[in-house]
Amino acid sequence: MNPYIMSIFLLGLGLGTTITFMSSHWLLAWMGLEINTLAIIPLMAQHHHPRSVEASTKYFLTQATAAAMILFASSTNAWITGQWDINELSHPMSSTIMMLGLALKIGLAPLHTWLPEVLQGLDLTTGLIMSTWQKLAPFSLLMQMNLNNSVMITMAIMSTMIGGWGGLNQTQLRKILAYSSIAHIGWMILVLQFSPSLTLITLMIYIFMTLSIFCLFKMNKTTSINSLAMSWSKSPTITALSPLILLSLGGLPPLTGFGPKWMILSELTKQDLNMIATITALSALLSLYFYLRLSYAMTLTLSPNTTPITNQWRFNTKQPTIHLSISTMLSLMLLPLLPGIMTIIN
């Protein structure tokens, strides 16, 4: 793609999210979401491959429907209460419709089915944008509203469980990452009404971890599990670190990914939701299974190879690796700093 046109689309992507961030009126927020959707579609379909065109068509249909539902909910609220402000969405019917629309936008569980298919059709860079940057605008809207309790908790629990179960049988890395995104979003939505700052920090840490894992796959040029077994010959260091990144995504204790899960579980038990906390903690085990399988295929097996392939690590990679190294460090070692970050955000 021509770099000038690419810059226009990237500008649109940033502008849409920024407009949604700064708006207090529903119409302006809707406009930001629309700009965002419009700007990412040509980036998704830039290779004109049938898979990418299909993915962008599916993405367009879901996102346009979600945006229309958001505007419908806010106009219903305006008809009933006369308010257009984002934090004045008070009528129960409109807030439920709004919750459904935003859930469709971020891919929360009963409305999640588009996310694995869309992510499967993209290249890894666009997939990274899709699973990080595109979540920011809907989350900024979700955090400004006071939403319906039971609907949100139900969707969040379904989302963590489906995110775990759906990824079990996959061999494609992008689909596995999509299901991991669904599970993480479930965790974020679960704690949203009790402590929005905790949701924000979970989202930030999820973005770091996803950034490192996408950059890792991009550096190895892998999109399925069986090609992961070759990654040790390309770069032994990052191959040694990558199970740690994956386990951090799964939420094991000394790594960064444990922090948000820990604090979310403690917040849930503070709110006397012990049963829900238990269910979500158990559903994290389902996700942990496929993270373990990925790390097993990546580091713990050594497939037989010819000499020219096994010496590939002697050549330096041409790709820039600075973002990979920074995000890897962040996703491995942020846990001791987490109380400090919490006090900053709170």
């Binding site: 119409l27 049938p50 962008s56 346009a64 106009s75 006369g82 694995p116 298919e117 759906g166």
Partner: protein, 98 residues
């Protein structure tokens, strides 16, 4: 709930149901999306007119501009899909399934 409110809510939900449940053609899905946008235009402009709020009346125009953008992007995707898949049937969009 006034009759007008009932009417545009019903039209929106009918469009949403049509989009959700049974679509053969991609073009029919886009038409349902257009119907939803149309009911939102009616909703916004009737809200303006009923409350006599003059300063709000540009908003349906802005919404119409954005929905036109959305519709044109949808039609471009229709062309792109019929190029790559050879048809606009939604059943043909199945190469990404799990």
């Amino acid at each position: 709930m006034t009759p007008v409110h009932f009417a545009f809510s019903t039209t929106f939900i009918l469009g949403l149901m049509g989009l959700t449940f049974h679509r053969n053609h991609l073009l029919s899905a886009l038409l349902c999306l257009e119907g939803m946008m149309l009911s939102l235009y009616v909703a916004l402009s009737l809200w303006t007119l009923q409350l006599n709020s003059i300063s709000f009346s540009p908003t349906p125009m802005l919404m119409l501009a954005f929905s036109a953008c959305e519709a044109s992007a949808g039609l471009a995707l229709l062309v792109a899909t019929s190029r790559t898949h050879g048809t606009d049937r939604l059943q043909a969009l199945n190469i990404l399934q799990c």
